[in-house]
Assembly symmetry: C2
Homo-oligomer: 350 residues x 2
């Protein structure tokens, strides 16, 4: 049966909390997106709200309104936002109740599991509805320990790291994967977040819902499986968080456990502090320091990619020039310029 999904974004479609939705709307989706449910963007096109490109994905105020308007009828309902602590907040619960009563399969990437929610669980039973809780932690018996097999993998690996979370690492990694394949470099992306799974990538794992002791082994297993089954020329690894992010430092795993010898570093020149909400202010590191830290782990930064956020043309071009002078590295703005300029650099390490 053909699957089509509606996407709940709960008033957050235009914000960084909607980054899962952005990924699904702007490109690949395991379940093609038919409509978005977001009360504050009703009547607009989801592509236009996300990145200014018309994608013919309408936005409705409620699940009911979407279902009465859509033909064919959608089969899946995906939660497309990140909430604080990954909780099922009341506004989401209301939409999910309706979706369950309408027999849509629920797809949830939050830490809080739909299948365990005391409000939703009885409804799921009553309506016989299926749930895919993407972040449901795997039992240790299903997880892999790191074994050092990565030492024998000769396929080059490039990690797409960032100086902060919610900065566009996955989007850049995905654009690079597409561009490399278009240029004849057979490339696979290792996903490390729920969005990557939702987008339909084959090899990877959900980093943040994995028991800590198995993170390195799951990464190794994903890479080794990818090499054995798909035999690509190049592997790009989606990074998570940032090396110096106090809310969850991350990044050395990709270099040390995954053996990435090169890094593309995503940065945003408009951001001064780590993205922790308003209460906590930790300044972002300088790019030069971050590049040195990556080098200390044994990997070389090949280029900087910039998420230009809400900067105007003049400002991002000035930032690009300044960062190039500061770091001596190629600097590319994927949204404005695409990633074609990175292909020769990547060919250089193959």
């Amino acid at each position: 049966m053909k699957t089509n999904a509606i996407l709940l974004t709960d008033g957050l479609l235009h914000l960084v909390y909607g980054k899962t939705a952005h990924g699904l709307i702007s490109g690949m989706s395991r379940f093609p997106i038919q409509a978005v449910i977001d009360p504050i963007h009703v009547g607009k096109d989801a592509g236009v709200v996300t990145d200014g490109k018309m994608r013919h994905i309408p936005i409705f105020a409620s699940v009911e309104e979407a279902l009465s308007a859509l033909n064919p009828r959608p089969t899946h309902c995906i939660i497309g936002v990140a909430t604080h602590g990954g909780r099922l907040i009341p506004s989401l619960l209301e939409s999910l109740k309706v979706a369950i009563q309408q027999n849509l399969t629920i797809v949830n990437g939050l830490h809080e599991l739909v299948s365990e929610n005391p409000t939703l669980y009885p409804l799921l039973k009553q309506y016989g509805v299926e749930v895919i809780d993407i972040r449901k932690p795997k039992h240790s018996s299903q997880l892999h320990m790191w074994e050092g097999k990565i030492q024998n993998v000769v396929t080059p690996r490039i990690a797409v790291l960032g100086t902060d979370c919610a900065i566009g690492k996955r989007t850049t990694c995905q654009k690079l994967t597409q561009a490399c394949n278009q240029q004849g470099i057979k490339t696979e992306m290792i996903y490390t977040g729920q969005t990557g799974w939702l987008q339909g990538f084959q090899y990877g794992f959900i980093f943040d819902s994995t028991l800590n002791d198995f993170v390195s082994g799951e990464l190794e297993h994903a890479i080794v499986s990818c090499v054995n089954e798909a035999n690509p020329e190049l592997i790009l690894i989606e990074g998570q968080s940032a090396l110096r992010n106090p809310s969850g430092p991350c990044g050395s795993e990709f270099i040390l456990s995954g053996g990435a010898k090169n890094v593309i570093l995503q940065h945003t020149p408009g951001r001064q502090y780590f993205n922790h909400g308003n209460k906590v202010k930790y300044p972002l590191p300088s790019l030069v320091d971050e590049i040195a830290l990556i080098k200390a782990y044994g990997a070389e930064v090949l280029a900087i990619t910039l998420n230009t956020g809400s900067l105007n043309n003049e400002t991002w071009q000035a930032a690009k020039q300044r960062i190039h002078l500061e770091t001596g590295l190629p600097v590319v703005c994927p949204r404005e310029e695409g990633v074609a300029d990175l292909i020769p650099i990547i060919r250089g390490v193959l």
Copy 2:
């Protein structure tokens, strides 16, 4: 009721795989150790096997033999070894079956849970025996997200990190905690492994069986709880693994998420490669590089502590001198010299 435990070490008491046992035998234990079960060390004293000190803890060949010899009868049976992947290997299963049939409470720090083992589970039911699976992963609803509360904690924190796993970080951290308290510095240790819990420490969490997204928050929560409830002058944080260990890099969390401004760095001059068994050889970093990496994260190494392993007197003294010259830092061998020399250095950061 008074609790007393027997400790299963399964032929590994003298090896690094027995490090949990070493911690319990040599000092604190939540459940006092009455005897050890280890077929290859029968008849010796467990303290003598562990670190050469008589501790009047006999070693028996089997659970049956221990139970017929011991008075009072033990109440608990603790698994005191680490196995590959944290699995319940057949030799352990045999001893555990007997322990369950003898109504001993089972205490297990392996990843594989006794409460879920298909061989043991029916026996547990049949005999009505209790199990404490220390590493049973907590559900996300029981875990804490990092919130940045650590910014308001003024109590100094020193992390005891190491250049490798299984190198003596916990032992050094524990010795330092005792020494500081003896010298009138009210000190608490934050445990991060199952042995720390087994030893009876109050504040901490099991690092490696925590869902990755919550590691930083659990660390913050342990520190904040410790400050609010125990109000120490100093907090020592037990490190895990090593910053550059490819099988599971770790350490930046303690500095960034736990706000440790200082580090005591445990090292072993006798080791050339990371401790991954024989198949995989990754050279250990130089101490100078490791100190620089710690500095890049914003913490200062106060001193080096050495696990002298099997080096003779002359060799470890030469290594100590050489490392002092290389790093310019104080170097102490806790086993041979105690940790008293570190107290003035610690006072310097209070």
